[in-house]
Each structure stands twice: as structure tokens, then as C-alpha cells.
């Protein structure tokens, strides 16, 4: 690790310049009271007329949610800015440093980013009613800065035309068999928050030597975790070593030849929180969007259409999908990912060359 130049410094430089030393962050003891959607809020949001949403959710799903919001609140246009979570993190850092305030609501598949943003005081405290009433404590920030917008697994999968169920690998170590050389697709932790989080959990529970050996399997290296399911469905590769579970669900349920594999070692758990930036140029529209995205309505839509899972207590699973309770799941640990992220990326690049 470089030590001198880390996440904190980049952001600190920006905020320090902006604040010119006037307002030090007061310590908050607890979350602010929950807020309902009032006609006044809707009115104020409509005056702003737009809201900018940075997200790493797979683009078609993110745009569908945006369109649902626009349908519910006509007159407020949502612009979805989708890229990999690690790019979003870099981008927000650069923008804050240069005092560019473009983003209203941010969604990242790397929960560690919210640890950093919270520490650096970038997030606005805001608790939608749904979050206060229906989200378990582990899925909302104690200070009311963010809550889990989406829960899903990072899984393995097979193309059902190319791999028979009985031949399919059962776990990560099976992928090291020479017969899979040149047939595996995976995404990159330098781009994707899903994969960074998954790499941390897999390296912890399975071992780094798994990655060292996997790198010799002539894998197809993609960037985004939402790309491997698509390449798998095209038949470009037979096996997906990592990628988004919700992408596989979407493709499978529309008749594409893919099937999830839940590794015997466990599947990495990914939690993607949503938060509002303090510097949001459209703060009212931001609150409205945050409210909408965490509502039962949107969460249920995410489950039905998007293949995601939800932390919202009223949201029901879609029948036919394996419930989380029946899957061996690895434990998420955002603080540890935050601590190790640079090291993970460096090590990964050493093994995989890109």
C-alpha cells in the first residue's frame, strides 16, 4: 500500500478546500427522524425538475427504475449515470476534489465506498419512512446516511447448451480443472464493486491461490460484473466464474440458456447501499428518488423484474428462485474491503496481468 496517497486524502483535499476550515463535522449520535413524502417535498422536487443518479446497477434495470420514478412523479427527469462502482468512486472523488457537484443520489455495489463517504462527511442524513419501519438494523446506517438498496449474490453460472448439469463445476476449485481452460469468463475488481467485494470474500474463504491458479486458465477478462452473464448467454464462454446473480435470473427467466451455480464454498454476498450526497444540486428531487428507490413498490419491482433480492421486510421473493436461506453465503465485511481494496486490486493485477 502506498500509505501517503489513499482514498481519504483524495477526498479530504477536496472537502478541506471547499469548507475552508469553517464547519467541522459535528458528531451525530443517531439518525434524524423518518420523513414521509409530503406534497411540499414533491412540489420542491418538481421545481428542480431533474435528478442525477450515479449507479452501478445493470443499465437496463437502472433505466427501468428511473422510468418508473418519472411515471410516478411527472416533471422530474432522472438521468442515470451508469458505470462500474470503482469508477463511480474514482469519479466522485475527482469531482468533489474539483468542486464539481453533479451527482444527487449514489448507488454503489461496493458497500465499502459508503464507509469512506460517511467518514469524509459527504453524505446527507435522510431516512425515508420505509427505511425506518421496514429495514432491519443491519441494512441501514445508524446515522441515517444510507440504506441497502439491493442485496444479491455474486455467483458462478453455466451455459446450459454447452455444459450439462452433471458436468458443471460445483465450486471454485473445480474451475481449476484443465478441461475448463479457455472456457471461463469473469469480471474485474478494478472496475466492478461486485467483483471487488466478491474477490475479498473469496480470497478470504477459498484462498488467494485459487485466483493465482485461475489466472492460468486463459479466462476471458471483462470489466463489469453485469457483462459475464450476457457473454454466457451468447455462448461466448461456457462457464461464468463470477458475475451478478440478478443478471442470470433475468436471462434465465426470459428463456436464455443460462443456469446459476451456487459454489459449495459459498457465494459472496453483495450489498449495494443508496445515499444522497450533501452536495446534491437537486436535494429535494434526491430525497424523493431515495424515498422511491427504497419503497416496497420499487423493491418489489427490483425483485420481480430485476432478479434482485431486497432487505425490505414487506417484499416477497419471486417463486422459482432459490431463497437465500437455502444457499451457503459468504459473510460480507465492508470495513475490511475498505481496508484491503488497494491491495486486492494490486494482487489481482499481478496474477491476471490486466
Amino acid at each position: 500500500m502506498t500509505g501517503k496517497f489513499n482514498r481519504r486524502d483524495v477526498l479530504k483535499a477536496g472537502t478541506a478546500l471547499a469548507a475552508t476550515g469553517l464547519f467541522a463535522e459535528p458528531l451525530r449520535a443517531a439518525a434524524p427522524p423518518a420523513e414521509a413524502v409530503t406534497p411540499a417535498l414533491i412540489e420542491a422536487a418538481k421545481k428542480e425538475g431533474k435528478v442525477v443518479h450515479y449507479t452501478s446497477v445493470d443499465l437496463p434495470l437502472a433505466e427501468k427504475v428511473a422510468k418508473a420514478f418519472e411515471a410516478k412523479y411527472p416533471g422530474i427527469a432522472v438521468r442515470v449515470e451508469r458505470t462500474g462502482a470503482e469508477r463511480i468512486f474514482t469519479r466522485i472523488g475527482q469531482e468533489q476534489q474539483s468542486r464539481i457537484y453533479a451527482c444527487d443520489v449514489v448507488q454503489s455495489s461496493d458497500a465499502a465506498h459508503f464507509v469512506v463517504w460517511k467518514r469524509d462527511g459527504l453524505l446527507l442524513p435522510y431516512v425515508p419512512e420505509d427505511v425506518a419501519q421496514h429495514y432491519p438494523a443491519e441494512h441501514k446506517d445508524a446515522d441515517g446516511l444510507f440504506a441497502s438498496y439491493r442485496v444479491y449474490l455474486c455467483i458462478m453460472a453455466r451455459n446450459t447448451d454447452l455444459v450439462k448439469p452433471e458436468d458443471a463445476p460445483k465450486g471454485f476449485r473445480d474451475l481449476l480443472d484443465p478441461k475448463w481452460a479457455g472456457k471461463i469468463v469473469k469480471a474485474h475488481p478494478g472496475y466492478s464493486g461486485t467483483i471487488l467485494t466478491a474477490t475479498f470474500q473469496t480470497a478470504r474463504d477459498v484462498g488467494w491461490d485459487y485466483y493465482e491458479k485461475l489466472a492460468k486458465q486463459r479466462i476471458m477478462q471483462l470489466q463489469s460484473a453485469s457483462d459475464p452473464p450476457k457473454k454466457l448467454a451468447l455462448g461466448e464462454r461456457a462457464i461464468m466464474a463470477d458475475g451478478i446473480e440478478y443478471g442470470i435470473f433475468q436471462l434465465k427467466e426470459t428463456g436464455k440458456p443460462v443456469d446459476p451455480i451456487y459454489a459449495v464454498e459459498g457465494s459472496p454476498m453483495i450489498i449495494g447501499p443508496n445515499g444522497i450526497l450533501k452536495s446534491a444540486p437537486n436535494p429535494n428531487a434526491a430525497k424523493l428518488l431515495q424515498n422511491f428507490m427504497l419503497s416496497a413498490e420499487c423493491q418489489q419491482f427490483n425483485v420481480e423484474f430485476g432478479g434482485l433480492r431486497s432487505a425490505h421486510k414487506l417484499v416477497k421473493d419471486k417463486p422459482g428462485r432459490k431463497p437465500l436461506s437455502e444457499i451457503k453465503v459468504m459473510k460480507d465485511d465492508a470495513a475490511a474491503v475498505e481496508r484491503d481494496s488497494e491491495q486486492i486490486k494490486v494482487r489481482y493485477t499481478q496474477y491476471f496481468k490486466v
Binding site: R82, T90, A102, M220, Q221, A233, A238, K353, V354
Partner: protein, 594 residues
Amino acid sequence: MTIAISEQAPRRKHGFDYTKTVLYGFAAALVLLIVLPMSWLVYYAFVDKTGAFTIGNFYTLFSDPAFQEPLVTTFVLATSTSLICCLVAAPMGWLVARTDMPLRRTVRLMVTASFVTPPFLGAIAWELLAAPNSGLLNKLARSAFGLESDEHIFNIYSFPGLIFVIACYTFPYVFVLVANALDRMPGDLEDASSILGGGTWQTAKRITIPLVLPALLAGALVAFLQAMTLFGSPAILALPAGFHTMTTKIWSLFQYPPKPELAAAASLPLLILTVILLRAEHMILGRRSYSVIGGKNSDPRIIQLGGLTWLALGFCFVVLLCPVLLPYGALLNASFSRIATTPIWFDNFTFHNLYFVFFELSATKLALYNTFVLGIATATLGTILAVVISYLTTRQAVTGHRALGFLATAPVAIPGIVLGVGLFLSYTQMPLAVSYVCKSISGVPCDTFASAFQLYGTKWILLLAFLTLGLPAAYQQMQSAFRAIHPELEDASRILGATRLRALWQITAPLLRTSVIATWCFVFVGTIRELSAAIMLFTSETKVISVLIFDLNESGDLAAISVLGIIMLVVTFGIVALANRLRIGGSPVQIRNA
């Protein structure tokens, strides 16, 4: 009536000649445009994270295998691309310029098409065609030859695959140079050879080939340069294959945590090598002037192909399949197919992709808007700059015109990604630097003043980048246009009492109209496809189409890319067609690779 008289005439009653002011103004603008980002680049390359002087960045660059490998890869890539381009483009250029092959105009047109196709778009189209398992060509081959489900003929995600795709969109540079040299070569030298008893092959060996060799060599250098500095295609094809080139490595250094010092250090070798190669090209092409000393007295000799006609035509067809016919077909197919790599048939034809791009993808509108605003602004400003500078240099209006000409051509030596890094470093650090200097001089914080230098995050920084990259081609165009107009006409106007600017406006401007429009069009086309500088400089509010396409590629949304790509191609061809109708015998236009 000579130029000297009007030049040396004492200042008349019409008073102040603005030329000098204009010269210094433009010189200052150019210095700002070029020297500023390059200075920051050099500064960053030689400091460490604390700002102390070091050469450690270069030590890392040349000793760390993570950098050595991309260096070697890039060198091999550029050399092979250059070689392939010459092998393909030289015979084609000859066929088109010197034989009676039918459809010669069509072939030239198709080469122009591959010339203006954004290379990153070509790379994505080739993913659709030749991905080892899902690629259309491999599927076809499997069903035609009965191969196993995981056997393939082409693998675009490989080093040879990357070389192939880059060569597809680089060979036009060689083609244009060779074909032009052959077009311009006077026929009487070859006539003399035949009159003296030389056969066709001897004439070719002793006269034609030596005369065209400099152009070919220069083409080879340009191709090398293009392949070396290209960003889009390697980013799309090399990363899945598991290797880096220098440009993708530089770009990856800005991923979290960013290492701007290393990126700056890695940019410098690209910059220096480009300068050297362009110098070499200039020397090689400069020598050509004495070889065509005979002037253009007779038309080039046309060789009858006879029975070889079909072979020649077949060769051209096969070559043009690669950059134009197949990729365009693949993009069209993916635009209207439910599954990007399944051929369109009744059961999978869909308009959903069009609907998605225009009505669901919320980034489309802004990106299109940004692209057109920037394209129009860059083309307009670039053309104005080019007109004024080339006037000052061709008419040798003032002392120092040579320096101005040099400054206007200099950006040719700056690869897009290097300029992107330079501008990024300049304009993200400028506000801090200005604020610091200002505070230490005046003693009060002057953040408001400093924030005026905050160009990062605005369209201005992209405009600066595109303007810098577009200027050399615009300048070359306008310069040759000015040379074609004899100064007598302006002199007459000035003798009759007009100021220099008035003479320019009333006499020269109408004569130049078509060249100006053509220049505008080509700067526009070059701008809307720029990726390598834009990828370093965009923010969410200033995203352009090329960057949007690149983003979509990373998440695998191939159908949306195809639709956007087709839009881009249609706009490009519209503009190119307009320019071609208007251009009257101008020199070939150089459009940068993105």
C-alpha cells in the same frame, strides 16, 4: 507588380495594420493550447507524490514488468500493423491509381469509409463477428465445416486479432499516401524508360517503385504511429485477452487509486517517439520534391490488367470486406436483432434496441447534444484558427510566421491520450495552484478567482482537447488552399487602398469558401469520433457519444452500441459526402485515430 512592393510600402493613411496583433494573439493562444498541458505533463513525470524532484517514475516504468510488457507489446503491435498495412495498401493504391481495374472510384470511396470509421466502433463490430464462440463468422464456419461447439477459426480477443483490427482502420493512411504519390508522378519519366527500351517490369523496378518508395515509407511510419497511440481498439480487445498496451496502461493508472505521476512518465516516451517518427516522415517526404522535378507534363501511364482484372478486383473486395462491409453488416444486424450475435430472421427482428436507445437510455440525449455542440464549436474555431494562421504563414505576412506554422502543426505529435493526461493534470491542478499563488501574493484566499481556472468538468476542457487535436489537419488543408490562390489578387486590392483584413475578406475569402467548408467538415468528423482524449476528460455532465459507447461496451450492452454506432456513421458519411462534393482538388485530409 510584385509582393515586395506592397509589403514594403510605408504605412498609409488607413492606419494601424492589425496583422501583428493578430499574430501575437494567435501565437499566445497556441502556446496556451499546447505548451501548458505538455509542461504539466513533464512536471508530473519528474516529481513524486510529495512534489519533490525524482526520476523514480521512469525507473519504475522501465524496470517493473507491469510496464515493460506493455512497452514491448506496443512496439510489436505497431511494427506488425505497419507492415501489414503496407503489404495491403501498396498494391491497392497501385491498382487504383495505375491500372484499368473497373470500380476504381468505388474502391477509393470504400477506403474513405474505412478511413472515417471510428476504430473503436470497428473493434466492437469485430467482437460481434469474430468472438471465438459467439462471433457470427465462427458460427458460420462451424455450421459450414461441421466443427465442434467450442472450435473456432477466428479469435478476435488475441494479439493477432488486435493487430488485424487496428490494421483494418490504419491501412487507409498508407493507401492515401501511396495512391496520391502514384497519381502525381509524371508519366514522362516512365515514358522515357519505355522509349529507351525498358519493359514494363524494368520500368516498374527502376522508375515507379523508387519514386513511390518514399511515400510508402512515410505511410509505414504513419501507420506505426497510429497503431502505437490508438486507445479504443486495445481497450476493447486486449483487456479481455489479458494484456495491456501503453495507452490502456496509461488509462488504467487513473483507476483508483490514481497514479498521475506514473501516467505522465509513461506518456512521455509515446510523445518523444511520435516526434521522432514525424521528423523522419517529414525528411522522407521532403526528399520527394526533387524526384518529381520533371513536373506534371503527361498523365500517368495506365496498365492494362487483362486477364488479371478479376484477381485484382477480388483482392480489393476481400480487403474491403474487413474494415467496411462485414463490420457494418454486423452492426446493422445487432441493431435489429434480439440477440446481438444471431443473424436477423423473422423470429428475432426487433425495434426494441432503437426504442431503448432513444426512449429508455437517459444518457443518449445529453451525449448527442454534447457531441454536436463540441463538434460544431471545435470545427468552427479550428477552421477560423486554421484560416488565419495559414494566411499569415503562406503570405509570410509578418516576421515570426514560421513559428506560428510550427505551433499549428506541433499537436500532430501529441497522441490523444497523452494530451488528455496533460490537460487533466493542468486543469484539475490549476485552481489549486492559482489559489495558492494568489493567496501567497495577496494574503487573502481567492478561491473565486481560482475557480475561473476550473475547466475540468466543463465542456471547455474537451473543446481545448479537440481543438488541439484537430488543428494540424485543418491547418494543412487551409495552407494548401491558400497556396493555390495567387497573391496578385490580394495585392491589387491592397494597392487600391484596402487594409490587409479587408483584402482578405473581399478577395480571398470568397475564393476559399469551398476549402473552408471542407475543412470545417473534416474537423467536425474528426471531433465527434474522438475517444482517447475524451476518456480522460469527461465528467457525467460532459459525456460524449464515443465515451458513452465505450461505457456501454464495458457492461456488454452491444445492441445499444450498434444503434449509437450506426447513428454516428450516418452523420459522419453525410458530412464527408458534403465535404467531398465541395472540395476542389485539395490534398488528402488526415483524420486522427481515436
